[in-house]
């Protein structure tokens, strides 16, 4: 089922189960109104986020990708978010090369208690993506090329 033309853009979120997913729940329980574009994929930890997931999302037509986990030091698995930070920093460098605007990608830390902050993060990022507008789509062959290149890069 497609995004509602003109109303929404395609934004994918990868959230860790312990902090940010809880933060998003807290925002919901607090009835903090947010734009509806974002679709959340729940993972145990941002340490599980393979940069490939992000790239695949973009290649398949995502207009924005948001990754959010526990604050540094608060990781439920002690170090998962540090691994995530390192990998995502590398990814940010590569996005440009792959022809993806780096501004379309953002990662941040939101704890389970920070409902208000989560609302802010979602609102700001969604606004940013709407400013950038829809991403240019990739031809399937280009996509394959990029992904294989990516695999070797990481």
């Amino acid at each position: 089922m497609p995004v509602l033309e003109g109303k929404e853009l395609r934004i994918v979120g990868f959230l860790c189960n312990w902090c940010s997913y809880g933060g998003a729940d807290t925002a919901g329980v607090g009835r903090f109104a947010q734009p509806t574009d974002l679709r959340v994929i729940k993972l145990p930890c941002t340490g599980r986020v393979n940069p490939l997931f992000v790239v695949r999302a973009f290649l398949n037509g995502a207009d924005g990708v948001l990754v959010s986990g526990c604050h540094p030091g608060d990781c439920h698995y002690t170090a998962g978010n540090f691994y995530a930070r390192r990998r995502l920093e590398v990814l940010r460098e590569l996005l440009d090369v792959m022809g993806i605007q780096p501004e379309r990608f953002h990662y941040t830390w939101v704890s389970a208690s920070e409902g208000q902050k989560w609302k802010q993060v979602v609102s700001d990022f969604t606004a940013r993506i709407h400013e950038l507008g829809p991403a240019t789509s990739f031809s399937s062959c280009a996509a394959v090329a990029v992904e294989t290149g990516m695999k070797t890069a990481i």
Binding site: V3, G22, R48, N50, A57, T78
Partner: protein
Amino acid sequence: MNIGVFVCHCGSNIAGTVDTEKVAEAARSFPDVAFATDTMYACSEPGQAGIIDAIKDYGLDGIVVASCTPRMHEATFRKTLERAGLNKYLFEMANIREHVSWIGKDKELNTNKAAELVQMAVAKLRNNTELHAGEFEINKRVMVIGGGVAGIQAALDCADGGLQVILVERESTIGGKMAKLDKTFPTVDCSSCILGPRMVDVAQHPNITLYAMSEVESVNGFVGNFDVSIRKKATYVDWEACTGCGQCMEKCPSKKAEDRFNEGVGTTTAINIPFPQAIPKKAVINANACIMLSKGKCGACAKLCPTQAIRFEQQDEIVQEQVGAIIAATGYDLFDHTLYGEYGGGRYPDVITSIQYERLLSASGPTGGHIKRPSDGREPKNIVFIQCVGSRDPSVNRPYCSGFCCMYTAKQAILTKDHIPDSQSHVFYMDIRSPGKLYDEFTRRAMEEYGARYIRGRVSTIQPRDGYYVVKGADTIMGSQVEVKADLVVLAVGAEASKGAGALAEKLRISYDGYGFFMEGHPKLKPVETNTAGVYLAGSCQGPKDIPASVAQGSAAASKVQALFSKDKLASDPQVSSVAIQRCVGCAKCESTCPFGAIEMTEFRGMPKASVVETVCQGCGVCAVTCPQGAIQLQHFTDNQILAEVNALCPY
């Protein structure tokens, strides 16, 4: 696969802003979906029955429920599947309440989003496989961190239930804040008379090992098998030998040491036993104040100690303990009133905190229970109490109500009248918050029987004027300024998270809120659990609480531990990593990245291979991203499963 989809109305919580029928209809067009319907309350008895029937009637072998957050009801529905004879991991949830219906009003957008989340769940479910939990042994010992009234209650309940308890206390004695109180509201019974016996029970209980002057250094492992290292801070006294006779205190020449137990009201000796009922009743040397330790000469205590217990050379010591569960009961600290420059910022000797006043009231306190002004030892006649100092004050980032100040202030006003019959108390308050059994009656007594004058308004400033203090406040009900002459001003300082709470939370891997209070598992339904299995909360470390509430939570946490330990083995979570041996090239990258050391390198037909120790793996999935071959995968969160979700959302 035959997938059944159930879209929950949650009354009007979801159906109010999501067209659940439409979502169900959309779901029918998704691959492998054999059955889809909306339902009033999926979690209710009939709701679950409906799911079970559908599984039977339509031969479903996978279920998606679109309702609230999985953090709420995933466990519920997994049980439902098991009751229907399905493996509980053939289940996915779409969160269309917290993430959809509660955060947006546009029904069209919400409905569309809900349908997409269902589609995503279906896509993942199609890649799910049956998983089966293993079992592992648990260590039925429990560690309680913090020896205040909540920790004492938890420790005693666990110990009485036959569990081995490790009680870790930062100070040299247990008792916490309650041990410093003179009387307790609303009964005005003596604090040490009711707490004292419980403290003695702790000391004498065969099942309790007490580490005083100790702090948790690090925590490793997981529910059922935690490895804790505890730092026993140097006391410079051999506690095996020390009998607590107290002769050392009488002879110690250094008498200007900070008196922590008496909250800095007066000073004490460098070698010190905080108070007569201390548990353990052992001497501790304050290294900064000790002449021997700072200047290398003196040793008076060592000379006269009847049991030669003094050890100037003593060092901190690290001890290891294994436990299966942990109860955090680290309590709270009091707001630092020096942030209020308008109240003197600590420059006025006779402007003191409420807990300092408790020490003045206490018969075992520095003044032997006689209320004396710190400045000149005079007995005050006019005492002003100022409430909400560091509570309900956004300008110092303390917008919350500390809950118990109204009550202890009323108590202190009553005790003041008892101590000094010809005294007059004034209480500046914003609102009197006294919900609780016999609480409001108590505050009324302070006014009606003890003549405390309550003034509804905040105090703007306190100014000293020859020998007394002018308290400038407002009476908002009368609609005017009021100035009260005071001999003594008592600030009802609010509660805040105890120092080091954040650091401990990080060691325990639990979350804490913006103020540093630990986060409970669920604000309503999991008041003493945390999101980390095997770690529980008791008392004010979770948020300001009075004594009855702290005790109740101590018992609640204890009973949670008892329930956990009622089984001899725990089911291990099968959502752990596993290695596809034929794809593994034995590069050992995963071994080096695993935060838990859950991966061992083994040999298989002479080739090095990684293998996962399932009971140690916590399921973070860091290894899965590290593996260049994609050989190691996290069960239930495999690359394929996650990419299926991505592709469902981004189909081009």
